[in-house]
C-alpha cells in the first residue's frame, strides 16, 4: 500500500491520497493523463498488466480500489 | 384530486398565456392604423342594422363614405376595405360581414381581380385585424391556395407574430394605445386630403385583357359562392379612375360577372365618368383615387343609384341609428378643413 501511495504522490504531489475522501475519477481529481501515468508506473512496480478493460471509474476512484484491482490481477496470473 | 388540480392549473396557465399573446399581438401587429380602425368600427356596430356593405381595397374606402351617404340619404352603409385586399380573400371578408349584419346588398369592388401586381404582405392589414374564428383560418387557407404559398411558409399567415415580432425595435407610444373605431368607417387619412392639381383626361377602352389564372380562379370561386347566397344581392363595381392601367382587365372581369347574371356597374365605360361632374384637379388625390371632395360626389351619385336599385330605406330618426348623427359630425370635424364642398353642402 505504501508503495502505491508513493507512486501516486510522485505523479500528483498536490493531492493528499492518504486521507482522501472524494472519488478521484468521478469528481474529476485525476485526468486521463494522470491515469495513463499511474497505470504505467503500476504495471512496472507490481508486475501486472492493467488493460483497457479494467479502466473503469470504480477501479480508480480511490487508492484502495486501485490496490484491489492490483491484487485481483496478481491472483489471476 | 391532484390530477384535477394539475389540469385546472394547466388550463389557467395557458389562458394567462393566451391573454398575454393577444396583448403582445395587438402591440406588435401592423402599425397601419386605418385598417384596424375599420375593423374595430365594423365589430362595434350594432347587429343587423346595415343595408349595404362595401368590400374591396382603396377603391372602396377612398370613394365611398358611409358618413356622407347617411347625411344625404339616411342610408345605412358600412365598409370592410383594406389596402390591396387580395381578390382571393374577398369571399371570406363577405362571410365575415354576414356574421353580424344582414344587408340587402353587398357591393364588391372588382379591382382586386383586375390588379395583377401582387403584394402578398398586405394581406396582413386584413388578416391581423380580423377576429379569430374559423373563417379567419379559411381565409388563410384560401389565400395560400390562390397565391401558391406552401408548406412552412403558410405559418406566417396563420401566426402573424412570426412576421411582426421583429417590430419590437420600432415600437412607439402609438403602438401601446388602443385604436379607436373609425367614424362610420369613413376615411380621413392624411393623403385623402391631397389634391392632384393637374387635369387628366378620363381614358376609356373597349379592350379585354386577361387577369391571370389565379385571379380568374379566385373570381370564379367568389362568384360560385355568391350564387348560393339567397338573402342578399351582390353588385360588382368598378369605380371611376383617370388611369388606363387596369381598364382592360376591369372589362374582362365585368364580362365574367355578367355571365354569372350579377349586376356590374363600370364607371369607366364610355359616357359614365361624366355623370359625376368631377373637377379632376380638385376632386382626385391621384390618378387612381378620388380625394375627400371627389368621394363626396361619388357617394352622392352612386348612393342615389343604389337606393333606387335596391329600394334602401331612409333610416334618419330611427332609434338604432341614434348615434349616427353624432358620428357623422365627428367625421366632419376631422375633414371640414380640407373639404371644399362643405359650404355648398350646408346651403342645400
Amino acid at each position: 500500500m505504501e508503495k502505491l501511495y508513493k507512486i501516486l504522490e510522485g505523479i500528483r504531489s498536490d493531492i493528499d491520497f492518504r486521507n482522501n475522501t472524494v472519488k478521484l475519477i468521478d469528481d474529476g481529481v485525476l485526468d486521463s493523463f494522470d491515469i495513463i501515468a499511474i497505470i504505467g508506473e503500476l504495471n512496472e512496480a507490481f508486475e501486472v498488466e492493467i488493460s483497457v478493460e479494467e479502466l473503469l471509474p470504480e477501479n480508480f476512484n480511490s487508492p484502495e480500489a486501485m490496490m484491489d484491482l492490483i491484487h485481483k490481477l496478481q491472483e489471476e496470473v | 384530486m391532484k390530477i384535477i388540480k394539475d389540469i385546472v392549473g394547466t388550463i389557467c396557465f395557458f389562458l394567462v398565456g393566451l391573454l398575454i399573446f393577444m396583448g403582445v399581438g395587438s402591440v406588435l401587429g401592423t402599425d397601419e392604423e386605418y385598417s384596424e380602425m375599420m375593423f374595430q368600427g365594423y365589430y362595434a356596430e350594432q347587429e343587423n342594422i346595415i343595408d349595404a356593405v362595401f368590400i374591396g381595397n382603396s377603391h372602396i374606402y377612398k370613394f365611398w363614405q358611409p358618413a356622407f351617404a347617411w347625411e344625404e340619404y339616411g342610408m345605412a352603409s358600412t365598409e370592410l376595405a383594406t389596402s390591396s385586399m387580395p381578390g382571393c380573400t374577398m369571399k371570406n371578408v363577405a362571410i365575415e360581414a354576414l356574421k353580424t349584419q344582414s344587408p340587402k346588398v353587398i357591393v364588391i369592388d372588382i379591382t382586386p381581380f383586375a390588379n395583377i401586381d401582387k403584394e402578398n404582405n398586405k394581406v396582413h392589414l386584413l388578416l391581423d385585424n380580423m377576429k379569430f374564428s374559423k373563417n379567419r383560418l379559411d381565409l388563410v387557407e384560401n389565400f395560400c391556395k390562390f397565391t401558391n404559398v406552401e408548406g412552412m411558409d403558410k405559418m406566417q399567415y396563420y401566426f402573424p407574430i412570426m412576421q411582426f415580432h421583429s417590430r419590437w425595435k420600432e415600437l412607439t407610444n402609438a403602438d401601446f394605445t388602443q385604436t379607436r373605431p373609425s367614424y362610420l368607417n369613413s376615411n380621413y387619412q392624411k393623403t385623402f386630403m391631397k389634391k392632384l392639381k393637374e387635369d387628366v383626361e378620363h381614358p376609356t377602352t373597349e379592350e379585354r385583357e386577361k387577369i391571370g389564372e389565379q385571379n380568374e380562379a379566385a373570381l370564379l370561386d367568389l362568384l360560385e359562392w355568391c350564387k348560393n347566397q339567397k338573402d342578399v344581392d351582390f353588385q360588382f363595381l368598378a369605380v371611376p379612375v383617370v388611369r388606363e392601367k387596369n381598364l382592360g382587365r376591369m372589362n374582362y372581369v365585368g364580362d365574367i360577372v355578367k355571365e354569372y347574371g350579377f349586376d356590374f356597374v363600370n364607371y369607366n365605360e364610355e359616357g359614365m365618368f361624366e355623370i359625376f361632374d368631377f373637377n379632376v384637379k380638385k376632386d382626385f388625390e391621384d390618378v387612381n383615387h378620388t380625394n375627400i371632395n371627389g368621394s363626396y360626389k361619388f357617394t352622392k351619385v352612386y348612393g342615389e343609384y343604389l337606393i333606387e336599385r335596391y329600394g334602401l330605406a331612409d333610416h334618419r330618426g330611427e332609434s338604432p341609428y341614434d348615434s349616427w348623427d353624432g358620428k357623422a359630425e365627428k367625421y366632419h370635424s376631422k375633414i371640414d378643413k380640407y373639404f371644399i364642398y362643405a359650404e355648398e353642402k350646408q346651403e342645400e
Binding site: G28, D31, S32, F33, I35, I36, A37, I39, G40, N43, I50, S51, V52, E53, L55, V77 | D6, F13, V16, G17, I20, V24, L28, T30, D31, E32, N57, S58, S83, S84, N115, E119, N121, K122, H124, L125, M155, Q156, I161, M162, Q163, F164, H165, S166, R167, W168, K169, E170, Q189, T191, D286, N288, H289
Partner: protein, 521 residues
Amino acid sequence: MAAVCAVYFIVPIKCRWAVLLAASYLFYWWNSAYLAFVLAGMTAITWLIGLWLERKNQKSAEYIKLHKEEMDASARKSYKLSVTKRKKWILFLGILLDLGVLLFFKYYNFFLENTSPLLAYLGIDPDAFKLDLLLPLGISFYTLQAIAYMVDMYRGKYKADHHFFKFALFMSFFPQIVQGPIARHNALAEQLQTGHAFDFTRLKYGCQLILWGFMKKLILADRIGILSDTVFGSYKDYGGMVLLFSVILYGLQVYGDFSGGMDIARGVSQIFGIELELNFRQPYFAKSIEEFWRRWHITLGAWMRDYIFYPLSLSKRFGALGRGARKIFGNYIGKKLPSFLAMFIVYFLVGFWHGSSWKYVAYGIWNGVIITAGILLEPVYQKGLALFRVKEKSYGWSLFQMFRTFLLCSVGRFFPRAASCTAAIVMMKQVCLSPQPWQLVDGTLLTLGLDGKDMAVLFGMVVLVLLVDIAHERGIRIRETVASQGLVCRWLVYWTAFYLIVIFGIYGPAYSSAAFIYQQF
C-alpha cells in the same frame, strides 16, 4: 411532438418503446427519406456483431470452466489469447463496416479532392468520380454510438441487446440523433426500453428545459449568426479587432446553438422519462483548454478517451515508445510522450470528425498544440506565480485562467468558421498585424448586421446565460429553485421566457414597417 407524447402515454407501458421507435424512424424518414435505410443497415450490422462477440465471450468462459482441471495457467493464457485474437477480427470487421459507411458518405469527396493530383497522374479524371452525396442525418453521431457498443461487447462490459427493434431504438432515438449526446448502450438503452408512467412534474421540467434551449438558440445564437455571416463572409474588409470580437461572439454562438440544442433534446427526452447524458458543463469556466474539452461536448470527449486515447496509450507499442523515449529525452518528457502522441491523434480525429475539410483538422491540431504547450509550460507558470507571489488558488488567478482559456479557445474557432484554412490564417495575421482597434468604437460594429437594439438584446442574453452558468457552477438547480417560488413568480418566469423567444427570437420572415408604407392602391 405533442402527438408522439400523447400516443406514448396512451399505449400500454410495455409497448411504449415501440412508439419512440416509430416516431424516430418517422422523423428520420421525414428528414432524409431513403437514408433511413443506411441507419437501419448500420443498426443491423452492429446488432449482429454485438451478438457474435457476446457468444464468443460466453463460449470461452464456458470452455475454461469445463476444462478447469486440465488447464494450467499458461494453457489458459494461450487459449484466452487465441479467443481474443478471433474477437479482434470480428470487432475489426464491425468497425470496418460501420466506419466505412461514415467515411463513404462524409469523406468520399474529400479523399477524392486530396488525391486528385495522384489520380490525374494515373490518367484518371477525379471529377468523373465525384458523387453528389447527401449526408445521412446524424451519421457522425450514431456511428460513434455503434462503435462504442461493439467495443464494449468485445471488452465484455455488459450484455448484448438481443431484441433487434429495441436495439434499433437505441441507435435512432429522435431527440438525440441529430446532434447527440453520444450515448452508451448501458446508460441509455434500459431507459428507452422500459415504459415510463406519465409524470406532470417531469413534463413541466422538460418543457422548461426546451424553452431555455430555444432561448439560447433563437435569441443568442441565431442573432450572432447574422453578425458572423457578415463578418466572415467578407473578412478582408475588417480590422483585426473586429475579427477578434466576431470570433469571440462566434464562440458564444456555437455554445448557444449546440448547448441549446442539447437542452431541447434533453427536455424532450425528459418528458418521456428518459435522462440523456449531460453534454455541456459550463465550458467557458474551464481553466485550461484540456478542461474545456472535458466540459464541452462531454460525450464526444468521453468517447475519444475511452475508445481512442486509453487503448492507444496503453497499447504495447506506445509503452515501448515511452520506454525508448525516456532513454533519449529523460524521464519527464519520456513519460509524457506516449500520452501526448495519443492526445494528438485524438484531437486530429476530433477535428476531422467535425467535418471533411482541412480546416477542421487544423482546428483539432490547434487544440492539441495549446494543451501540449500548457502542460509543458506548467513549470514556467509555477515559477512565474512564485515570482509575483500570486496565490494559485486565488480568485483573480482563476479568473485570469478562465479568460485565457476562453480567448485561446475563441481564437481557435477561426479555423472552423473560416471558409478555408488559408482564410483562417489570414484572419489570425490580421488580428496581430492590423488590429485597427478604433473600429471597435467608431460605429463599425453596428454595421455588421445588428443594430444598437439588437446588440443590447444580445448583451442582455449573454449576461443571462452567464448568470445561469454561474448558478449551475455553484450547484444551484434553477428549475427546482423556480418551482419552489409562489405561483405568480413561477408563471411570470415561464411566460417571460416564452415571450422573450417570441419577440426577440430570430425566426420567420423579417418584417419592417417600410414594407408596409401606405401605397396608393
